[in-house]
């Protein structure tokens, strides 16, 4: 198949046309931070962690939504990008109430991992401490809005993979919250199939199953990716 030449961080690479910059990086072992991206789900470019610099373009673009073009010269590791990744991470932590020590996802959390990766030892911005609900109405699962980072991976897993459309987002600005149906308690949802895909898609301790305790949560987001891959068999 035809390939095109691109350059990432001074490395010359041959990649397939039409893939995203993120895909090109991952295929070639170049680390790129993401939060809202989950392979298999559509990309929304919301977390802004995968921002890259592209020569000739005076804006930072999200690698997950930008496609490679021939002779593109990309940088993923400049000081500015690193600084912005750290600010983004700090804003994630400051936005809601992330109390790692009492969180089910402690030690198994993509947000925690992100903090370590960007070397965040403290948060320079004042915490917002919003009042957030913990919805325990579902028979098996819990939605803890304190830990939600609004990546909307659950929303997309529910609509794109399960097709149930139980989840969506209400309000706007910093008042956005993930909702079930008409903002009804999850347990009273008429659309939820209790499939649990949203739990696997969630990067933090916002969605979890009632049978786990603090620090015991295990997540398998790759399960979503596999489901999507296997679906493709139906088309062949």
């Amino acid at each position: 198949m035809n390939t095109i030449d691109i350059k990432i961080n001074e490395r010359s690479l041959k990649v397939l046309p039409g893939i995203t910059i993120l895909q090109a990086c991952r295929d070639n072992g170049i680390d790129i931070l993401t939060m809202c991206h989950l392979k298999g789900l559509s990309d929304v470019g919301a977390c802004r962690l995968c921002l890259v610099e592209i020569e000739g373009i005076n804006k930072l673009l999200s690698a997950c939504t930008t496609r490679v073009a021939s002779n593109m010269v990309i940088r993923t590791d400049t000081e500015k990008i690193k600084r912005y990744q750290r600010i983004t991470t700090e804003l994630f932590f400051a936005e809601r109430n992330h109390v790692c020590s009492v969180c089910v996802a402690n030690g198994n959390c993509e947000l925690q991992e992100l903090g370590y990766k960007v070397g965040m030892d403290h948060i320079r911005y004042p915490f917002l401490f919003p009042e957030c609900k913990v919805d325990t109405s579902h028979q098996y699962f819990v939605m803890d809005h304190n830990r939600c980072i609004m990546c909307t991976r659950c929303v997309r897993a529910c609509s794109e993979v399960e097709g149930a459309f139980n989840w969506d987002v209400k309000n706007r600005g910093f008042q956005v919250r993930v909702i079930s149906d008409f903002d009804t308690p999850w347990g009273e949802s008429i659309t939820c199939t209790s499939c649990g895909k949203c739990l696997q898609a969630c990067p933090t301790g916002a969605l979890w199953s009632k049978d786990v305790v603090q620090g015991q949560l295990e997540k398998h987001p790759e399960m979503i990716t596999e489901l999507v891959e296997k679906r493709k068999l139906l088309l062949t």
Partner: protein, 162 residues
């Protein structure tokens, strides 16, 4: 849930007609919500459920759309509404002071409705009448270059008491 809309309600007929006119297209959701809010004054939950069913849209999609836009309200806005424009021109001409005074006099914060549902106080981000700043809209009637006293008097005229 026994909150189905009564088919005899003229507002339901209006809503049904609007949905039909829009060919049951999900992308007409916002137009349909506008029309529903016009006849109900706000968007009651059973109306949203009705729309969801008619357009085959998931409830979450409808709720997320409704809460995204300022225009739509899930709560009754009160029989009479007093909307203070806080756009830039009005801000420069002292809209904040009018709002503060109004909030003090009525005991209602912006977005609240009085206990008897007679009066609701709201704010808008520019209604585009900047040449007339500061502007207050009383029950869809634009009051130009207002003072707080004028507005208070007009409100008293409308709702009778303080």
């Amino acid at each position: 849930m026994n909150n189905e809309l009564p088919a005899t309600d003229p507002r339901v007929k209006l809503l049904a007609a609007k949905i039909k006119k829009e060919n049951f297209k999900p992308d007409a959701l916002i137009e349909i919500l506008h029309s529903a809010q016009n006849s109900y004054g706000y968007l009651p939950m059973n109306v949203l459920a009705y729309i969801a069913k008619a357009l085959h849209l998931p409830p979450s999609r409808i709720y997320s759309t409704v809460t995204f836009y300022h225009f739509f309200s899930l709560k009754s806005k009160g029989e009479h509404t007093c909307l203070v424009c806080t756009g830039t021109a009005c801000y420069v001409k002292g809209a904040q002071a009018i709002l503060n005074e109004l909030e003090k006099k009525t005991g209602l914060k912006a977005g609240q409705v009085s206990a008897d549902n007679k009066l609701g106080v709201q704010v808008a981000r520019c209604i585009g009448a900047c040449g007339l700043a500061p502007v207050v809209v009383l029950d869809d009637e634009v009051q130009a270059k207002v003072t707080t006293d004028e507005i208070i008097n007009k409100i008293i005229d409308k709702i009778g008491t303080k």
